[in-house]
């Protein structure tokens, strides 16, 4: 009976959205003619009394909203031209709400946007070009953090994130196996990774996968787990010389042998090597299920896990380390980070950019950065050791040398490539379909080759936006 209501909720939501178009359009028009901003532009009045008002939207609770508003108030007090108002919208409804506002012509001037939505919004003409934002600045965001549509920079990531290999130090010590390398030039090949994983995989009789009498049905500790959420799998296809898309995002390359083989390698960790637990990509809690649950010795996932879950586990006694990812042919990790955009409906794009530039300077997001959830975006934090130390030398992080090498240096190396949503559209559609296509690959009911070639046309259609 409970589920029954969902349909009703859907219908109502659709209807409300419908009616929103009607009322909102009127409201929008009315607001425009009467707004103080347009008066201000018409009459060259004294700017000290007529500050330009801009709205910044962010996802988060009302409490997080007031924290950000407090930061914005500092900005408001620091100059006399711009007044920023923060609008906090819960994460679950964020994009839905923005969609409704967009239809109504009532978008904020600037705000955060989820990764998968940036190129889509840009292709629908909803975003401003922000390439001029850092002109003449001494520090710019890392190159891999610019969202590009048709050659234009349409957004910068609000934060940086990269994929890492986490490991449980106690398990390595107990097995007397050296830790995974934190330095990129010592990164493990896939075979070294699998061999080490075997040493760390134990069945209930204490046997390893390459020993006689090993029972894959009664494994008590797994060696490794590669996160197989669709978007993260792209790293492995790239590493094997394939990829999801061509570099400009126009072609789909998932059907190439190199891409298919990489995905099969990941599946084989469970199916053939018996070093990984089964994961069918149904939930996004990889680190909790593996490293924190204490069932797996090594697991890949994003840097944010340090702040979102590993810190708490560390306080409870978990000894974890960070390392660079192993590689197939090329060393690859993915960069990502939700975007800060300037909406094209804004009448004050210049002011919006000025605010964003001020706000995204790391000092203003220090809580998120120092807790290990966000990584800075400006290059000085990666290249200037004083800044790096200020960022990393704090008890929330693994030891400085380890983190510096496995995260800070890794993130600015050639291995760090932007995730697909930085340059191509419809990644959400594509990733959803790919996840569904691969469902039976992880359990071994079909092979990656079979599953992908059977659905290649549908995947291409999803990428083209007309599934």
């Amino acid at each position: 009976m409970k589920t029954g209501k969902k349909l009703g909720v859907g219908l109502i939501a659709a209807a409300l959205a419908m009616s929103a178009i009607g009322c909102a359009n009127n409201g929008g028009n009315g607001g425009n003619t009467a707004s103080p901003e347009s008066n201000a532009t018409n009459t060259p009045a004294d700017t000290k009394t007529e500050k330009v008002k801009i709205t910044y939207s962010m996802w988060g609770s009302a409490a997080e909203g007031s924290t950000t508003q407090a930061v914005a108030d500092k900005f408001n007090a620091s100059q006399d031209r711009i007044e920023v108002e923060v609008q906090a919208i819960p994460w679950e409804n964020y994009m839905t709400k923005l969609n409704t506002l967009a239809t109504a012509g009532q978008l904020p001037d600037t705000g955060m946007l989820q990764e998968g939505g940036v190129i889509q919004w840009s292709s629908e003409g909803m975003l401003n070009d922000v390439s001029a934002m850092y002109e003449g600045s001494d520090s710019k965001p890392l190159d891999s953090l610019a969202y590009k549509h048709q050659g234009n920079t349409v957004a910068y990531a609000a934060a940086n994130e990269i994929l890492l290999l986490y490991y449980n130090k106690d398990m390595f010590d107990k097995a007397n196996v050296p830790y995974p390398p934190a330095a990129l030039d010592q990164a493990w090949t896939w075979d070294e990774f699998v061999a080490t994983s075997k040493k760390l995989t134990i069945d209930k009789n204490g046997k390893h996968p390459d020993e006689d009498g090993f029972d894959s049905q009664s494994i008590v500790q797994y060696g490794a787990s590669i996160e197989n959420l669709s978007w993260q799998l792209e790293a492995w296809t790239l590493s094997n010389g394939g990829g999801f898309y061509s570099e400009d995002g126009t072609e789909v390359r998932i059907g190439e042998d190199a891409s298919v083989e990489a995905i099969q390698r990941v599946a084989d960790l469970y199916l053939k090597d018996h070093v990984a637990p089964l994961s069918v990509g149904q939930t996004d809690d990889g680190i909790q299920r593996t490293i924190i649950a204490g069932t797996v010795a090594m697991a890949t996932n994003g840097q944010w896990n340090i702040g979102t879950s590993l810190n708490t586990a560390k306080e409870e006694g978990l000894k974890y380390g960070v390392a660079v990812l192993p590689y197939l042919k090329d060393k690859v990790t993915l960069n990502t980070g939700g975007a800060n955009v300037v909406f094209s409906q804004s009448k004050h794009p210049e002011e919006a950019m000025e605010w964003l530039k001020w706000y995204t300077s790391e000092e203003n997001n220090w809580a998120l950065i120092s807790s290990g959830i966000w990584m800075p975006t400006l290059d000085k934090w990666y290249t200037d050791e004083t800044f790096t130390r200020k960022w990393v030398e704090n008890p929330n992080f693994p030891p400085y040398e380890e983190y510096k090498s496995a995260v800070v240096d890794y993130a600015q190396s050639d291995a760090a490539r932007p995730a697909a949503w930085f340059y191509t559209n419809y990644t959400t559609d594509f990733n959803t379909l790919l996840g569904s296509v691969l469902g039976d690959v992880w359990t071994g009911k079909t092979t990656a080759k079979e599953a992908i070639s059977k659905n290649l046309d549908a995947l291409k259609a999803a990428h083209a936006g007309n599934k």
Binding site: T3, G10, A14, A15, P277, L278, D440, N466
Partner: protein, 307 residues
């Protein structure tokens, strides 16, 4: 003649204060129905003929969404099959289970009200908590069920991670959740006249015969009601897919309502999602119609054949 006839009629409709009160009381419900049910339904029909994404004003595209759904959509076919599969399994399972439990609870067993509460509890627990709990039981690597299996020397079953086990596994949860059906069955059982049982007992009918020829026929109206409610609820299944499986593995739990949710609120293809919604609506209407049309044949009516 005419005036004589008209007057009392009109009075009974509009002038009696009882009727007036009734109409006034109906106004809120009427507005609720019109604005929250019928107009949105029309709205859905309207949106389904557009390419609305929420960003730009919608453009009218005729039945293109429907053509896409039935030709190139990679999910809809699997989605229809898996939804019906789930609904049929869950409905059959929960009908048998809840009728059985209701009959047990209708007997004079010790601590009867305690047990009645026990079987109702799952129905009132928060849905997400239930599914998280079951996910620990079902977990493929270290879950409780697999622990039990390995203790007795059997191979692991992947339950919700295996595309052929996931729907039966979720159906089992849905059966376990059927506390509301038990309560309704219990009420129905208490209305089965005892005299029939006594008479049959005198004639030497055993308990199975009494169940088959007395309890079951007397219960058919209740069974019909429960069947209908349970079928509608299960055809609209979405919570387990949202809470446990994300529609996977593969498309094996991409239920229609989940698909619609995905289209509307993940991919922002609102027009397309509305078209899917109407397909769900059509399927529900179809099943309900078949149930109603066939109900005359098997519902036992104490007053004879006419309804």
């Amino acid at each position: 003649m005419e005036t004589v006839n008209k007057l009392p009629k009109r009075r009974s409709r509009f002038h009696s204060s009882e009727a007036r009160v009734a109409y006034i009381c109906l106004i809120p419900a009427f507005f609720g129905l019109v604005f929250l049910t019928y107009l949105p339904l029309l709205g859905v029909l309207g949106i389904s003929l557009t390419n609305w994404t929420g960003l730009k004003p919608p453009e009218f595209i005729g039945i293109e969404n429907y053509i896409k759904l039935f030709t190139t959509d990679p999910y809809i076919k699997d989605s229809i099959i898996t939804t019906i599969y789930f609904a049929v399994l869950s409905v059959i399972g929960s009908m048998i289970y809840s009728l059985f439990i209701a009959m047990m609870l209708n007997r004079k067993i010790p601590a009867r009200s305690f047990f009645r509460a026990v079987f109702y509890i799952p129905y009132v627990l928060p849905a997400v908590a239930i599914y998280v709990g079951w996910s620990w039981l079902y977990e493929g690597n270290f879950g409780f069920f697999n622990y039990l299996l390995s203790e007795i020397g059997l191979n692991k079953i992947l339950f919700i991670a295996d595309s052929s086990f996931v729907v039966p596994s979720l159906s089992l949860i849905s059966v376990w959740l059927a506390g509301n059906l038990i309560v309704i069955f219990l009420a129905g059982l208490q209305n089965v006249p005892n005299v029939y049982h006594e008479a049959a007992e005198m004639d030497g009918a055993n308990s199975w015969q009494r169940f088959l020829h007395i309890t079951l026929p007397c219960m058919t109206p209740i069974i019909f009601y429960n069947l209908l409610m349970s079928l509608i609820a299960n055809l609209q299944v979405v919570t387990p897919a949202l809470a446990l499986t994300n529609g996977g593995p593969g498309n094996s739990t991409r239920f229609l309502t989940y698909l619609m949710y995905d289209q509307a609120f993940v991919n922002y293809k609102l027009g397309y999602a509305c078209a899917t919604t109407l397909i769900i609506f059509a399927i529900l209407a179809g099943f309900t119609l078949v149930l109603f049309k066939t109900s005359n044949r098997w519902i036992y009516n104490e007053g004879g054949e006419d309804k």
